[in-house]
Symmetry: C2
């Protein structure tokens, strides 16, 4: 089995071409030559925003806030974590707190970056900053949502229960919840150890 | 806080329009009217394939196979789980075994569906079937890869170690690994219980 020490040589980009562009998306074509001489045509999507944030927001030490919103990709409602696009010039902590106020009616006194997730790195350059929010207080901001979102709180230890629901399937939300749960578990273990 | 019992009424799709299309992607515009009367224009991407599979493939009970491949979205190499598109007419078990042979040089005597993950349900209709593969045997098939992939094996209990690496960030792979790890843990616990 090959070892991780081998650092492959990146393919050369022979040519780059814009195929299509809309308000939200741009499709780009790349002609690539790999180190072994193989040539391939790839397509990739370029996001147009300033990045995005997703929140693991905890109203108490055992629960996490979930939103239920219309998911146009599937034309159905889906359960996920609060999230949104970073506005131009906004830092990710400010964006995260604003989204939490708009989507859930809470602000957070404590927000810390947890992980950065990619969506489909072979095809997209999208990255999502996941942040852990705690010490919440009630505060609502008007957002651009067409209708109020349904907000639920769920025990963060019960990810299995969420996965059993048909409307909970977004990979980034699942990854974010597991990472937050394991972090909280290991903090508790080290506290009880000392 | 609203309860999960409220079942929202889906917006009506007033109009649907194809904005752009390439070999891999299609961008569609939707005019929506929400139950409260609010109207919005949404964009979504439609994938053109027959679905996709991702594998948690275990060469032994404690390790998982990872691949390192060129990720055009970021123009850099990324570490992730073996995965690929389902060919037309192919079932997901056959597709998963074929991708494992092409990308890692192994077939699996046992393959079971683990979970179905969405990518960005607000913007895309993409779903990825994640399968758990075990009882592996050596078998290589030629795929469409422009260069051989680097294959590594990693302890499935050490997801934290993977997350510390700069080249491991794909949300679907992270979600899949946590779900597989928790399933294996709970199977072991119930075995040792009885």
């Amino acid at each position: 089995m090959a070892s991780s020490e081998i650092s492959p040589t990146k393919p050369s980009i022979l040519r780059r071409r814009d195929l299509a562009s809309s308000r939200l998306f741009a499709i780009e074509e790349l002609e690539l030559r790999f180190a072994n001489g193989a040539e391939r045509t790839f397509e990739r999507l370029k996001g147009k925003g300033s990045g995005a944030v997703m929140l693991v927001a905890m109203p108490d030490p055992d629960h996490v806030l979930l939103i239920r919103e219309y998911a146009a990709g599937f034309d159905e409602y889906a359960l996920t974590l609060p999230k949104g696009l970073v506005d131009p010039g906004e830092d990710i902590i400010t964006a995260a707190n604003r989204e939490l106020m708009e989507e859930c009616g809470y602000g957070a006194n404590r927000i810390e970056p947890l992980v950065e997730l990619s969506l489909a790195p072979n095809y997209m350059n999208h990255r999502m900053h996941v942040l852990l929010a705690s010490d919440l207080y009630e505060k609502r901001l008007d957002g651009d949502e067409p209708e109020p979102l349904l907000v639920e709180s769920h025990p963060i230890e019960d990810i299995t229960g969420l996965l059993a629901r048909e409307d909970f399937h977004e990979a980034r939300a699942i990854a974010a919840l597991y990472i937050a749960r394991d972090k909280l578990r290991s903090e508790r273990e080290s506290e009880s150890w000392w």
